[in-house]
Structures are given as structure tokens and as C-alpha cells.
Subunit: 507 residues, 2 copies
């Protein structure tokens, strides 16, 4: 059927769009497998072939989404959208949104971006290992140049600022003006709160050392056990190893990763819990909309709220750590007071300035994010070049956390985001933390036995609540609408502040 | 640039074709990763999403290859092909060949085939494990129906028989009439030869038991060590586990698999050597033609000749086993006469009827293949239905090898080929064995020190010879032209017969 024939009525136009977006979703699934494989399995010498494969699929997806007939089909379907049900209408709106993002970027730029992202990310892996920022900088500059081209094109199309145009791709309808307010708010109370928490921890009992080594095979088996407790279904997913933990794959084949350190099991285990939160969200998305835009996850702030709900809110709760402690003692052969729930909890709640974002505690974490947010805004504005990044980074770290990294590997090269082309992503980590606190408080209110259940390793009340109030919503509402519907209030800092004060100052 | 503008001259038409086939090659690489992942990594619950992904990529590749402008571009490029160099002319001929195969299959059938292949192959995995052929049969019948549709369409287009039309997709220019002659020849001397070898082995010294268990981790480490000896580059490939050993991925990211049995290391190790032969072929293809049709491997007979050159000819040679034996003793802690090179060799040269093709010795192996060749020809002709396959299989086994499988799991369900839609593939195993014998005899003649080098774990003379005479040829010539150029004679049974007689009767 030609596009013109379909235009004759909106039902067939919408049906044609559904077919096309189904194909796009399957293509996206293939891209997810290639991405996961590159980070977990691919030998280094496969990089160039993989870059070709990924660029080709990106280009095909882009062409499929931006083909001339799609705009007409959308317009035609919209003309009589009132005849559609709620979900279909929301689906059509998402189609328009994705189409608008895609058509804003010129086709040739899509291919160049994909290749430059692959190249810069692979280079980052070796440059970080060698602590050789100078080797990365020129390629990073090239990548930033292409991202800025993309931002300018999108800004033009949407009537947004360059940075907001990128942000909207990660967190729909989010604007930096709102973030500025929330982040200013955090900065108004966090430094003082941090000081009070540190003072209190200093005055408290000393942490007893938990001695390793903790064999990697044991950590891995424990990770799988905890994933199962959290409701992860291994018939629909895997756990593997990568440089940077992430959740990849597709909802019915969810691939999470972690990394192991023989001297410390705590970090890897929490990474597993964190990624399981992401994975449960994907698995809980509305199954009847699997291959349609409205069935997708609703941006990175909501995604991060789900991982942090499991990691920070439930995973580090006194109740869950009390449940976990006997299992830790058993698998690692731990004995004595160092292996008490209180002592283990003290490791999971240790607060203080540190260099590495992914290892930061939840009190200082927002300060890491705010620094990155400011730096990436400057890079997108053209006010900060890759060569000047280390100095700006180190100055920012000194100002906000009072420490300076000894090298770039533990400084501006620590994260995969910029080398892989993700600009506008970082703020969603802290927005997600705010949302997680707000959602957890609402969940506890709605399900009074929820915390006690965690103490018995029973996540079902929490999972049922988030399935109902977040996961099953897919992309039917905006992120803020989901948060308002679930918690009765717009996204703010109050619940997060209450959470920090209760956990670190009142207990 | 529009197709019409390109048509104006053949240089730009050919350049446009090269771009298109480059994209197709990258798409094929993505498909190879999805296929490898499905067989090695994917959790069972991911099957349905993966089938969608694979069907989508198949469809896109098919559309890219069969787009209306491609035929015009090929015709236009051919009109002045004399201006092209040898390799480019061969490349253009390959483009025409691939285009002819693709356009012969209707687009909607491509999608249905891909889905049915995925479905049947996944079902086969569980049905074989449960020895439940009845569960597989209806889906296998559906698949055969679709394959027959495809065969009929291709037969029409090429003026070939249905079976030959399928065969040509695996082994270009091969015809069943030629295979019939070669296989009749094999059947004329193999049964008698088999009897003589068995009589001789019966009269010889008894095999001493080599007792395990052989830890899987040790077998895996040994496999990697042997791969390195054979010239496998781990910066460009991996070794993993699958139900059925195979070589996947792309030339610069070559993924081989094996499977392990704690009670027996010999089979897994030879599978590794076999797959390394396949992988070296891919890696040795002409690098300047990586993404073009002429740079691809030249069909499955040549491919199998390369794996069998390493497995059957070099890998089971007395010289190499003598080199390998001290390493086997060291890694498995073996001692005494059971761990002598002679005794180990006796395991690698044990001849006699057996049920499982991939475990069969090289003397009986052709009989397994000839049975499958006859059965699949009958299935394609419509003379044999899936429900009648077990009876036909068992009758054939009884007739050619004198044994009957106790169940379908070790009978007609043992191989992945039919459930994954590969009909016309099986004969290439035995054609490859004939070619391997012929190539090895030519290589030894051309490089007199070759066998002695194998005795020192030095594969470089063999590798150099096959790189020069086979790998570097890509798809510039037909399989038979490659064999004639490398060995001075067309493919026949004489070298294979000489090889069998020398190894099993003269030694």
C-alpha cells in the first residue's frame, strides 16, 4: 500500500505507523544486543567492524523513522485521533515526539555521530586505563563538535535552548530552568547537611574492617541470589561483567552488568541491586505495548528512580541489610562483630567526599552530578573545550567537595557518558534520586507492611506498588505526571531531604 | 543521488553498488552477532524478541538487496565492466549472483522464513533435550513447507532443480548430478574400506583407557592454548560454549564455540581445532575487500575444507599428536602408557559405526552425510514428511551403518541444520573432506617441511600455503576453480581414498 492510499483514512494511517514503529522497536532491540556485546564480550580487534554495524543500524533506524511518508501518516492519523483509545492516542503522541527528535537531526550527521561515538568510546577505554587524557581529548572534541551540531539542529526545531533540546531526549519535557531550581535548592542545604552527617559519623562508633579477599565467583553467585530475591527472572535476563555497570538488552531479555573487586564485595553487590531496579522496570512495562513507543520506559529520570528505589531506598534500608547479613556471613565465611548488620550497614552508609561518582554516597552524589551538569552545559554552549576539561573538573571538585583528583583517570575520564556521546544525561541521576525518595515514601504510606517485608527478603509489596504506579504506565504520561499521580506532588527536594535527615541524623 | 542519475555511467553505478553492498555486509555482521548471541548467551525467554529482531534485519537486508534500482545499477555497471579491474569484475559478478538469489525469493516469504527458522530452532533445543520429536514435527513440517516454496521460486529463476537451487546458495555452481557421482564413488569403496580398517584395528593393540574426569576449566585453557598454536588471534575472536560447535561473527571478530564433556577431552579439543580452521579462513580473506561480496568466503565446501584441513589432516596427523601429547600429559596430570602419543592417536583414529555425525570418524562420516543428503532431497521433493522422518532415518542408518538409534535425540533430531532451515548444506561436509585431503596433499608437495613443522607445533608453512592458495582468493573464483588452481585437479575422491588408506591401512 502506498503512503497516499493510507492517508485516506486515519485508521489505516495509524496501523501503518504501528507496523513501522514495531520494526523500529525490533531494530532498537538488535542495536541493544550489539551495544551489550561490545561492552561485555567483544574482543578489542572487533571495534572497527562493530562501529560499521552500529552506524549502519543507526542509519537504517533513522531512515525508517524519517522517511518522507511518516510525517504525512502522523498528520493523517492525528486528524481523527479522537476515534482512538487513550493508549493509542498516547502512542501516537509518542510517535510524533520520536519523529520530531529524529527529523531534527540531518541524516548524514546521524551516521557521523554513530561512528564518532563508537570511536571515542573505544579510545576512552584504553586512554582511561593508561591515564592518558591527551590521547582522548582531540577525539572528544570532535565528538562534542558533532553533538553541538545536533543540539543546534534540535534547538531550532523545538524552539528550545541547545542544552534543553538534548535533555529532552533523555527526560521528556524536562527543562534546565526547572533543574536549576532543584539543584540550587540542593546546594542550599546539602553542604551543611553533609557536614552534620560527617560530624555525627566521626563521633559514632568506629567501623570494624571487613577483611577479604572475597572471591569473584562467590560474589557473582551472591549477586545472582540477591537478584532472584529482588524478583529478577533469569529466564529473561543475564548478569555479566563490564567496565561500567549498566542495564541493556530488551524487556524480555534484560542484560545487567557489574564489575568485581576481590577486596570489596559491597560495591559490586549494590551495583547488582541498582541494575536490577532498572531491569525490573523494563520487564514491568506494559506487555501489550512491547513493540510500540507508548510501551517504552519513560525517560532516564524515571528509570533512575527505579534503580535508586531498589539500591538506595530499599537496598540500604536497615530492614534489608538485617535480612542480608546472615547470607553474607554464610557465603563469605564471616564471623564476629565486624559481620554484624550494624557494621555492614555502616559501610553502606559511609558519607564523605570522594573522587568517583559511582562509588559516592547518596549525600555527596548530587554534588558530583551538579558539577557534571555545569561542565556539560558549558561544553554544549561552546564555552569549554575538551583540552580545558581537566582543569575545570579539578577546580569544580575542589570547590564543591574540597578534593582534587590525582589524575584524570579518577577525574574527568572516569565516566563513559561524554566519550559515548551522552550529554544531557547526567542530571537525571539526581532527579532520579529525588524521585526515588518521593516514590518510596508514597509506597510505604500506601503499603504499611512494606518495610517489614523487606526485612524478610520479600520485595513483593514494593514491586507490586511500582508495577502499578510506575512500570505499567509505560510512556502514557510525562515523567512529572507519573510522579504526581504516584506521590500526589510534583518532583521536589523535600522527600529526599527528609530521607537523608532520617537515615543519617535521626537514627 | 538518484538511481537514475547513477545509471548514466557505469563507474558511478558500480560505486553506488559498492556502497550498498558495504551496508549489506555491515548488516550481515549485525545478524551474525545476533545469531552467535542466541546460541551462546541468550536466556530462553529472549527467544521471541530475538526472532523479531532477526526477522526485521533479514527483511531489511532483503529489501536493500532487492530494491528496484539494484537490477538497473547492476545492468548499467555490467555494460562497461571491461573498464574494471579483475577483482572489481569478480565483485560485480558476485553482486549479480547474490541479487539473483535474493530476488528469486518473494519478500513476504523472507520474513516468514526467518520467523519460522527461529521458532523451529528454539523448539528443537528443548525438544531434543526432552527427546520429544512429536513436539518438533509439526513446526518442522511448516518450515519445510516454506523452504519448498523458496526452492520452487529459486528453481524457476535459475532453471535448476529445486534441490540444486538451494544447494547453489551454500556451494556456488555445485550441482547434485556432480555430487551423485562423487557420492556413488564413495559408496563403491567405503563399505569395504571400512570393514578392512575395522578388521585391522580389531587385530591391533588394545586401546588403553584414558581416565578422567577432565575439568572443564582445564579443557577450556587447553583449547585456547591450541588455538594460539594454530594462529588464532584472541584480539580478534573468542571461544565460547554452545550446543553445537560453530564459527560465527565476522572476519575481524571471529567467534568460535565448542562444548565440553568432563569424561572426554578429545572431542571438544578437536571441535576447537575444527572451528579454528573455519575462523582462520575468515580472518585470511582479502582485507581490502572486507565489506564487498568478492571478499567473502567461497561457500561451504571450501569453508569445510579449511576446518577439516586443520582437524582431520593436520590435527590428527601423527606429527601433531606427538607434539600435543606432552602438553596433554602436563595439563591433565596424565602418566604411563595410556598417555603415550600412540595411545592418544588410537582414540583420534578409532573407526566404526556410530550414531552421532559430529562424533563420527572420517571413514564413516561420509555415510552419515549421504543419508542426510538423500533424506533432505526427499523432503524438498515433497516425498518425505517430517512425521515420517524418524522411520526413514532409522532405516537409512541400519542400511548404511548397520545400527539403529535408540531414540530420536540421537537419531534424526541430533543436528541443528534442518530445524534452523538449512537444506542443501549437508553434502558440503563430505565435499569439504574430499577437498581437504586434496589440498593437504598439494600443500605437502609444495612445502616439503610442512609435516615436520606440525611436529613442532609450527603451523606457519600450512597457514602460509592456504592463505596464498585459498584464503586470499576470497570469492574471486568458483569453488572448483580454487581447487583446480591449488591442487592441479578437479574435486575428486582419489586423494581422500589415498589419505584413508595411508592413515588406516598402511601405517
Amino acid at each position: 500500500m502506498s503512503a497516499k492510499a493510507e492517508d485516506r483514512n486515519s485508521t489505516s494511517a495509524y496501523a501503518a505507523l504501528k507496523d513501522r514503529f514495531h520494526r523500529l522497536s525490533a531494530l532498537g532491540g538488535a542495536q541493544a544486543v550489539l551495544h551489550w556485546d561490545r561492552a561485555t564480550m567483544m574482543p578489542e580487534g572487533g571495534a572497527s567492524a562493530r562501529a560499521e554495524q552500529q552506524a549502519t543500524l543507526s542509519l537504517i533506524a533513522h531512515q525508517t523513522l524519517t522517511a518522507p511518508e511518516v510525517a504525512d501518516l502522523i498528520a493523517s492519523a492525528e486528524a481523527t485521533a479522537t476515534a482512538l483509545g487513550d493508549w493509542d492516542r498516547a502512542n501516537l503522541a509518542e510517535m510524533r515526539r520520536l519523529h520530531a527528535h529524529a527529523t531534527a537531526t540531518p541524516t548524514d550527521l546521524v551516521g557521523r555521530l554513530s561512528r564518532q561515538k563508537s570511536k571515542t568510546e573505544m579510545l576512552w577505554r584504553s586512554a582511561r586505563a593508561a591515564n592518558d587524557y591527551a590521547r582522548l581529548a582531540p577525539e572528544l572534541d570532535r565528538l562534542i563538535g558533532l553533538i553541538r551540531e545536533q543540539a543546534a539542529a534540535k534547538a531550532d526545531a523545538f524552539g528550545l535552548s541547545h542544552y534543553d533540546a538534548l535533555l529532552d531526549g533523555y527526560d521528556p519535557n524536562r527543562r534546565s530552568a526547572d533543574i536549576d531550581v532543584l539543584f540550587a535548592d540542593l546546594e542550599s542545604f546539602l553542604p551543611d547537611l553533609l557536614q552534620r552527617v560527617m560530624d555525627r559519623q566521626k563521633a559514632g562508633p568506629a567501623r570494624l574492617p571487613i577483611d577479604g579477599p572475597f572471591p569473584i565467583a562467590t560474589q557473582e553467585a551472591l549477586g545472582r541470589e540477591v537478584m532472584a530475591v529482588l524478583g529478577f527472572d533469569f529466564a529473561h535476563g543475564r548478569l555479566d561483567v563490564s567496565h561500567h555497570p549498566f542495564t541493556g538488552g530488551v524487556p524480555d531479555d534484560s542484560r545487567i552488568t557489574t564489575r568485581y573487586d576481590e577486596r570489596d564485595f559491597t560495591e559490586s553487590l549494590m551495583a547488582v541491586i541498582h541494575e536490577t531496579g532498572h531491569s525490573l522496570y523494563e520487564r514491568g512495562l506494559p506487555e501489550e505495548w512491547r513493540y510500540q513507543p507508548v510501551g517504552r520506559s519513560r525517560g532516564m529520570t524515571i528509570h533512575e528512580s527505579q534503580s535508586l528505589l531498589f539500591e538506595m531506598q530499599a537496598g540500604r534500608s536497615g530492614a534489608f541489610i538485617a535480612y542480608l547479613t546472615p547470607r553474607l556471613r554464610a557465603v563469605f565465611g564471616g564471623e564476629g562483630p565486624a559481620w554484624s548488620a550494624e557494621n555492614i550497614l555502616s559501610y553502606y552508609r559511609k558519607v564523605g567526599p570522594s573522587l568517583i561518582r559511582v562509588q559516592a554516597d547518596e549525600v555527596t552524589y548530587p554534588l558530583h552530578v551538579i558539577l557534571r551538569y555545569r561542565l556539560e552545559r558549558a561544553m554544549i554552549a561552546g564555552d569549554l573545550h575538551a583540552r580545558d576539561l581537566p582543569a575545570a573538573w579539578n577546580e569544580g571538585m575542589k570547590k564543591s567537595l574540597g578534593i582534587v583528583p590525582p589524575d584524570d583517570a579518577s577525574g574527568c575520564m572516569q565516566d563513559i557518558h561524554w566519550p559515548s556521546g551522552s550529554f544531557g544525561y547526567f542530571p537525571t541521576y539526581t532527579l532520579g534520586a529525588l524521585a526515588a525518595a518521593q516514590l518510596f515514601q508514597a509506597a510505604k504510606k500506601a503499603r504499611p507492611g512494606l518495610e517489614e517485608a523487606l526485612g524478610q527478603g520479600d520485595f513483593s509489596p514494593l514491586i507490586q506498588w511500582v508495577r502499578e504506579n510506575v512500570h505499567s504506565r509505560g510512556s502514557r504520561q510525562t515523567p512529572d505526571e507519573i510522579i504526581v499521580a504516584a506521590t500526589g506532588a510534583p518532583l521536589g527536594t523535600a522527600a529526599f531531604r527528609r530521607h537523608i535527615e532520617a537515615r543519617y541524623l535521626d537514627a
